[in-house]
């Protein structure tokens, strides 16, 4: 992931020739430039298309495929793919396509929410540590401590400990959802914080910040108006990668049997349930496994494309 694109030669440079010809270019929104560069990355484009497809499928899928994912039809159990059940049915006769859609809803929303939480925490810590010299030492030591924690064992322990408490407080489904999103968010913000801090430290020394300070801009507006917009690109890249990380972590937790319960399917849980029937119905592990892998792959490609597109040195402006 740490391809050093800064040292790569520029291969696609759609803007360069236009400048060389000396034609006056109409002013362009910078996001249009980002999009132009993003479009040249075939993998990223395919990834974005696939991710949009998945998000659409899980959000409007339940209206198109109206079978109840929890409906038990014991006489139609363990069926292979057919017209009535395109993905087949499980050991209780529940429709697997409906369960995949329902599971995708949970997996994707856990991914997005946990990413939002971890990006928020990471950005907050990173900006505070980079901007305020006094906070830098303590916050970064704190980040280092978090990086030294054995995360997967701790995640399992936390899930086990707080499961019943949150279930009692928010109900069985919302409680476990909050718990999973919370623990993934709280344990994955460190990389973002480090990257953001580094960038803030560099931007703080620039002239425009000095200029803004000289006209008496207060710290709060300094951060929101001048610092944050300039560290947006690393934040966006780490946000994309955060989605992939969160989806994998949630699936891993569910796969180990510590995440969502069986009647509340996620892709990881479906995969875990299918492995019990691996000998008889090996094709059943494919759907959730492929869904997880392809979603994560597409998100990773989007991240790769975004990194190139948001880097002005590569974009050639």
């Amino acid at each position: 992931m740490t391809d050093n694109h800064a040292t790569d030669p520029v291969i696609h440079n759609p803007v360069g020739p236009a400048q060389a010809a000396g034609k006056p270019r109409p002013p362009r929104n910078q996001w249009l430039d980002v999009w132009d560069q993003f479009r040249t990355h075939k993998g990223a484009l395919a990834g974005a298309a696939f991710f949009i497809f998945i998000v659409l499928a899980v959000s409007i899928g339940p209206w198109l495929w109206t079978v109840d994912p929890t409906f038990i039809d014991i006489r139609a159990r363990n069926q292979g793919p057919s017209l009535t059940h395109p993905f087949g049915t499980d050991q209780l006769g529940r429709d697997l396509l409906a369960r995949m859609i329902k599971g995708g809803q949970t997996s994707v929303s856990v991914g997005l929410m946990a990413m939002a939480l971890s990006v928020f925490l990471g950005t907050a810590v990173g900006v505070l540590a980079g901007y305020f010299r006094k906070l830098d030492g303590p916050l970064m030591r704190f980040t280092d401590l978090f990086l030294a924690l054995p995360l997967l064992p701790l995640l399992l322990v936390i899930l086990l400990l707080f499961r019943d408490v949150l279930r009692a407080a928010f109900g069985p489904e919302a409680g476990i959802f909050i718990l999973v999103v919370g623990v993934i968010g709280i344990t994955s913000w460190m990389q973002t914080a480090r990257i953001v801090r580094g960038d803030v430290l560099a931007i703080k020394e620039r002239e425009f910040v000095l200029a803004a300070r000289s006209i008496g801009t207060p710290n709060r507006r300094m951060i929101t108006r001048h610092i944050l917009p300039n560290v947006l690109s690393p934040i966006m890249v780490s946000a994309t990668l955060g989605i992939a990380n969160a989806i994998i972590t949630e699936s891993a937790l569910s796969f180990l049997g510590f995440g969502f319960p069986s009647d509340f399917p996620t892709w990881g849980r479906l995969l875990y349930d299918s492995t019990d029937y691996l000998q008889q119905f090996p094709e059943r592990v494919m759907w959730p496994g492929l869904a997880i892998s392809l979603t994560v792959l597409s998100v990773n490609y989007i991240g790769d494309g975004l990194r190139d597109a948001l880097d002005p040195r590569i974009r050639g402006r």
Partner: protein
């Protein structure tokens, strides 16, 4: 160099203590009760006495201190006794598992070889595959090989081990029937045939874990080689008339290995964490599987000890990475 190492060592002590405290306090909240298995006919006051006998009546800070002493003083003493036959730790209370009522460390020592064989070997295999791939794809940047390498490592990042593991089981165990899907730890290697069986059962878990390692390390190797290939000293070496082989494999490779070696060291504890999942997929009864069963059985001393062992590994390999970086790159030492 010595002061550099000592400074790093001193920093890692408070880190470890903090992590120990976090783990301890987290488990303090746990609803688990060691008396849960005691028959209901035992009266509550007797149960209370049994609880006190386990040391659960003491205040939190005293129990934390005692646990630290047990972990860092009594357990090492036991290790010395075991190897030298001395009696330093005689009569001292060790960390006792609530599940088996035997010392936690004894069980960990039983389980460790399985994990080390599978995890350790997979890491070695992964690194051994990754380095040549990284070197070659940097040397021929944007070639077909490089593109393929990028794609494979993207897959290595994206396909989680609990799917790639299940996938290879479906292909090689269920469909083709070539390899066993379950890792048999009681298998004894004493002849060529049994060695072949051992090889067959190891190949899937090792390759699944190695894929992850390869994906990461080969990318690092490639990026690091690319950084160095454009440097002035490479041009100088070529201008002196050195063969391409010497330039790439001696001059560039040595310098590019500096960050890669530290990344390899940093990845070791992470692979232990990933092994938790792989061990679950292939039913290897290593320490990852031990941790899962201990969590499910609410065996707090076991969970505490294992989690802390993982933490010690992370801190230790961070330290090793730092020191290695200092040894390999003199500029780092003087910051």
């Amino acid at each position: 160099m010595l002061t550099f190492t000592i400074r790093r060592l001193v920093i890692s002590i408070p880190t470890l203590l903090f992590i120990a405290l976090v783990i301890f306090l987290l488990l303090e909240l746990s609803p688990g009760d060691p008396m849960a298995n005691v028959p209901l006919t035992v009266p509550p006051e007797v149960k209370e006495q049994m609880r006190l006998a386990l040391g659960l009546g003491e205040p939190v800070h005293i129990r934390f201190f005692k646990w630290i002493v047990q972990f860092f003083w009594i357990e090492p003493l036991n290790l010395i006794d075991h190897f030298l036959g001395t009696g330093f730790a005689e009569g001292k209370l060790r960390v006792i598992s609530w599940q088996t009522r035997s010392p936690v460390m004894d069980i960990v020592v039983q389980r460790l070889p399985q994990t080390l064989w599978v995890v350790g070997l997979s890491y070695v295999v992964g690194v051994a595959i990754a380095l040549p791939i990284g070197i070659y794809s940097a040397y021929r940047q944007y070639s077909l090989f490089d593109q393929a390498g990028t794609f494979v490592s993207m897959i290595g990042y994206s396909v989680p081990p609990f799917f790639s593991g299940v996938l290879v089981i479906v292909i090689f165990s269920v469909k083709l029937g070539w390899l066993p899907s379950i890792y048999d730890t009681t298998h004894v290697v004493d002849s060529w045939d049994s060695f072949v069986v051992q090889l067959q059962q190891m190949i899937m878990p090792v390759m699944v874990l190695a894929l992850q390692t390869t994906a990461q390390i080969s990318r690092f190797m490639r990026a690091s080689m690319l950084d160095n290939l454009n440097q002035d000293y490479v041009r100088t070496a070529r201008a002196k008339g050195m063969t391409e082989r010497v330039v790439v494999l001696t001059h560039v490779l040595r310098n590019s290995m500096i960050p890669v070696v530290t990344v390899i060291a940093l990845g070791v504890p992470g692979i232990f964490g990933g092994a938790i999942i792989t061990e679950q997929v292939f039913k290897v009864n290593g320490i990852g599987q031990l941790l899962i069963t201990a969590i499910q059985a609410n065996d707090l001393p076991m969970v505490q000890t294992l989690t802390f062992i993982f933490a010690v590994l992370i801190v230790l390999f961070n330290l090793i990475a730092d020191v290695l970086y200092g040894i390999l790159d003199p500029r780092i030492r003087y910051d």
